[in-house]
Amino acid sequence: MSVDTGSSRAAAKPELVEFTIDGQQLSVPKGTLVIRAAEMIGIGIPRFCDHPLLDPVAACRQCLVEVPDAGNGRPMKPQPACALVAMPGMQVETAASNATVAKHQEGMLEFLLINHPLDCPICDKGGECPLQNQAMSHGPGESRYEGVKRTFPKPVHISAEILLDRERCVLCQRCTRFSTQISGDEFIELAERGALSQIKNYEDTPYQSYFAGNIVQICPVGALTSADYRFQSRPFDLVSTTSSCEHCADGCELRIDHRAGTVRRRMAGDDPQVNEEWNCDRGRFGFRSTMLADRLTSPLVRREGVLEPASWPEAIDAAARGLARAGHDVGVLPGGRLTVENAYAYSRFTRAVLGSNDIDFRSRPASAEESAFLASYIAGRRFEQAVHYADLEAAARVVLVSLEPEDESPIVFLRLRKAWRAHGLQIVNVAPFNSAGATKLGARLHATAPGGEADALRTLAADGLLDEQTIVLIGERAALSPGALATAAELTKRRGARLAWIPRRAGEVGAIEAGALPALLPAGRQVADPGARVDLAAAWGVASLPATTGREVNAIIEAAGNRQLQALVTAGIQAEDFLDPRALLDALESVDFVVSLEQRRTEVTERADVVFPVAPITEQVGHFINWEHRIRPVQLVIDENPSPMTDVRVLAALADAMGADLGMRSPAQARAEFAQIADWSGERAHGPIDSGGGRPVTSQPPAPDSLVLAGWRLLIDDAAGLDGATELLATAPARVARLAPADAARLGLVSGDPVEISGPAGRLVAPVELVGEMSPGVVWLPLNTGSSLFATLGAHPGDRVHVTAPGSRPDGPNQSDGGAQ
């Protein structure tokens, strides 16, 4: 566990307090708890309720120590070390020096065990249980209790994912404190009293939290278990690997436990700089998607229109032939979830092997403005220059633009909440309304309809809110709001605020570094810079690199659709994530040749000519770069495959077959090679950014029933990466359409009514939820809950959509009199 003395903010030297534990003289920062001080000098004090990241509660009484002198010459009664602040001259005695303390601790363990079932042999916690361990190390060995134990019917589902065995609970309140203090989801509380006390959720509300898994991890007994892992394994049969989470750009350290070649569970790792000791449920429970029946196990080659299994040499030959036929006219869509090593392989493969610059990792709405922003502000940025989690904690103000932290960056959410609780960090939310997540951050709403972000930033700047004490966090959705990124970049520079861009996917910052963008080469080199091209061509051992700036993602899809491009290479993309999913699928069908590197069968692989199964994240090493530009190592978890076919390995084989050399055959080689070219001291892109190149705003005249669409991806939604996580998905929030009460009233809708939202591609119906502070003229929908809005509606945040009560449209499906529909 991490030792947090609360000094991370203070650069000034803390005031020190001198006191003794078991006669040893200590000097600790003022305010340090005795239990933390004892840890520092290696004195073990048993504990259950204490947790360094939770406020002390002193409930379990296991950590009692004797204080012969409180520093004022007077003794104290036995004190809980977890709540006792070290005072000058205080003398503390632990069990190591005082037999009375050893008796206190033995007595307390005996108490904890009288009502605790001795079901360790069938308990998930058995083998890694603080109660079991401390009963052995500090307990009496034998219980003198001969009475009746308290029992409860078991277990209780406090949510679809979390189960509670009440008779095992020692009432340490770690879970309730986590919920109220850390995540802010006050859905569980102590109920009843005395020995019948128990943790309960509300009568008709389950425990709703994106961070619920943490309460299982910090439960010091087997009272809280996950439906996902219950009875899956014995802790001592598991092999643990420290790795990084692949689900988002926050970069959580993970502990991945596997047995018999299968991952059984994932836990939050302990990285005080990043995720502290927490992670989100998506990162914890969303690991089954590559264990499903649709996992690709062998290459596929299309023969006479049908995809059929093929040998690796056969598939590589087929792919090499097809790509060679396409010449330089190949577009590459590697997606945003790759490790830096894999992204780098795509970057080099595209430039040095295919001779193309048509590569774009952005499997999502993107814009030229964003490209320029990424080139100027993100590419080549060093860790030391970037905003870090600790900076968020130390800032006086954080402005959120096109970013919903709880859904899109959960660890940033936890840090912001921590800072708000600790010192009242002011959070300004540029959004159409304050979501439940923003409310948990105490955010001040700067009501802004999608598309109005640039104006909102100008207003904030004029109000003096973008000063040196401010950090602006801008999300990837800003690419949909013309001028937002350019304005954020310019105003923060001018006003002294710091700026960080937080994408959703784990591989995006790494892909920018690797040069998986049309105008960017690795490490911030620009395609337009001849010096950079020469430098890289030399490093890569090729005569030259293509000089024409490549196409961006939408242009690649368009060019493939009208056959200006002859072939596409894709990796780990989902059609529904793209601005126009239909256009992508059409392009995949139109273009002559498609090579897909994938883990599972998808809409994309079904349209490919050659499909290569690539190794999932658990079977390779590599790195992600999180939004802080911090390196996050990915470790090998399952080592049964001695030669995993990673993206690097497949691209190297393709290059070989095409008579070229990728220069690397494994992620380790890719890393070594990338390290050699990562230091670029030449010219980089620098602003100002032209904000005119934003996505064209639809010229539709606002109709009376047309509202501006707002929305974001929920943390737990229909994402492919969550497939198979059944219990987790059962906790996903339902789709609702959020409306301002005035708009709803105008449409004759009340809360809970179905409302129909229609866009160019189609329509959907969702129940209405009224949000009092919602900007008028805005309708909010989750982007991929129930169905992908990009596919279903053909509309995006910032677009106008028609919002009506179902049946009220003259051409609606419920109007059957015409019979033409």
Partner: protein
């Protein structure tokens, strides 16, 4: 001997309609509040109460004036006065009669105390089960407000005060001051970690004084008659008068107000002694959480220091007297059952210790005890005592250890003989039900 009694708080209890505002006023009521608000500064009120030597009547005996002086004067947050009327301890019954008979005495004290600590909002937290008292205090607040004693510009002094009467939801632990504050805030009533102390961060994290109802009720008399007058009663360090609640196997149970330092022997003589034909076996000086004492202690002055010297605590001065027909085992078990039921469950030793001790005591009561049970109980008590979060557990530990200390052979008898055989329960009941014995046995 009647001159031993000094009715101050109870002065008007015998008058008709003593709880009504006009009757209270006709005996000089609210003159002290007027005097404090119009003629004295807050500091003068505090020093008057300090000089009077008034100590907390809730059991701990902390000097009331000193408590008031801890309130920071420069807090940007409001200051609150909270009156603890959550009287729930077995045997303790002084605040309820006080509020029943003269709620305006308390209210007048609330006005003076709030003025002294610069609180403009006071709360009276009344035990929820006693609905008639909640109603009576609410009516008193209503009447006082109508008369201008509460609200704005009281007595033309420019001082404003509002009072809320809050009914608890029925938990003994809410008599613990920090649990009371949590309960008052609408949370689950559980004691809070200290520091911060209520004086710094109490109700709604604001400076708060929490006083017992009897302590506050003593204030008007002190202001009216002066510190010297109050000082003149009581013992060297326990000043003034207090209400002793006599109950149990006595001829005339009830409230006896006397200067601190009176002895149980004196009170029994005043009240007519134990019931006919019986004699005192043991008593509690201040409710079931104070260690029991035997007739050897009949002459101990019932003040804070002397009772402490005798190995007990003055507590709430609830003198529960038990005669020789009473089974100590049974009494101790009933008390422990109460504490087990009321343990809030927050901390391990109280929650589990009470659960365990009740089971052992039940075995002993039923004659099913085993050799070593007493030692085991004493060790469990040792593992509980002073180690729990608040003092609730210390209460049941005190009852058990003092019972074993004074009456160990009765517990040893529980290794083979049911308590109801040694002490037929109907003999100790004033109104015994014939079937009671069988019910207990089954």
């Amino acid at each position: 001997m009647t001159d031993v009694l000094t009715p101050v708080l109870t002065e008007n209890w015998g008058t008709p309609g003593s709880w009504q505002l006009e009757n209270y006023r006709s005996r000089g009521g609210y003159a002290a509040a007027r005097k404090a608000l119009t003629e004295m500064t807050a500091a003068q009120v505090i020093s008057e109460v300090k000089d009077a030597g008034l100590r907390g009547r809730g059991g701990a005996g902390f000097p009331t004036g000193a408590k008031w002086s801890f309130i920071p004067r420069d807090s940007p947050k409001p200051t609150y006065l909270v009156v603890n009327c959550d009287e729930s301890e077995p045997g303790t019954c002084k605040d309820m009669p006080l509020l029943m008979a003269s709620p305006h005495t308390l209210l007048e004290g609330v006005i003076i105390a709030s003025y002294a600590v610069n609180a403009h909002q006071a709360f009276i937290y009344v035990r929820g089960e006693v609905l008639h008292i909640v109603r009576r205090v609410r009516k008193a607040v209503e009447d006082a407000r109508a008369a201008g004693f509460l609200g704005t510009d009281i007595f033309g002094s420019g001082y404003d005060l509002e009072v809320v009467v809050h009914a608890g939801a029925g938990a003994y632990i809410c008599g613990e001051e920090t649990a009371l504050l949590d309960s008052l805030e609408g949370r689950r009533g559980q004691p809070r970690l200290r520091p911060p102390f209520p004086a710094v961060a109490g109700l709604y994290a604001s400076p708060t004084v929490v006083n017992n109802a009897e302590s506050i009720s003593a204030v008007p008399a002190i202001i009216r008659h002066g510190a010297a007058w109050y000082q003149s009663m009581g013992t060297e360090r326990s000043k003034g008068t207090t209400i002793y609640s006599l109950s149990g196997h006595v001829r005339n149970p009830g409230q006896f107000e006397a200067p601190l330092g009176i002895t149980l022997r004196q009170i029994l003589e005043l009240s007519g002694g134990m019931r006919q034909g019986h004699h005192l076996k043991f008593f509690t000086p201040g409710g079931s959480s104070t260690p029991m004492l035997t007739p050897d202690y009949l002459d101990v002055p019932l003040d804070y220091e002397s009772v402490a010297k005798s190995g007990s605590i003055l507590g709430t001065k609830a003198l529960q007297c038990f005669d020789e027909t009473t089974s100590v085992v049974r009494t101790t078990l009933r008390w422990t059952e109460f504490y087990k039921h009321e343990s809030c469950g927050k901390c391990t030793p109280c929650r589990e210790g009470s659960w365990w001790l009740v089971q052992t005591l039940r075995n002993i009561e039923a004659g099913r005890g085993q050799e070593g049970d007493i030692e085991k109980m004493l060790d469990v008590c040792d593992n509980t005592s002073m180690k729990s979060f608040c003092t609730l557990a210390d209460g049941f530990v005190a009852a058990i250890t003092s019972a074993i200390k004074h009456f160990r052979p009765e517990f040893e008898a529980g290794y083979h003989t049911p308590a109801w055989e040694l002490f037929p329960y109907e003999k100790s009941a004033l109104f015994a039900r014939p079937r009671q014995v069988e019910e207990v046995a089954s």
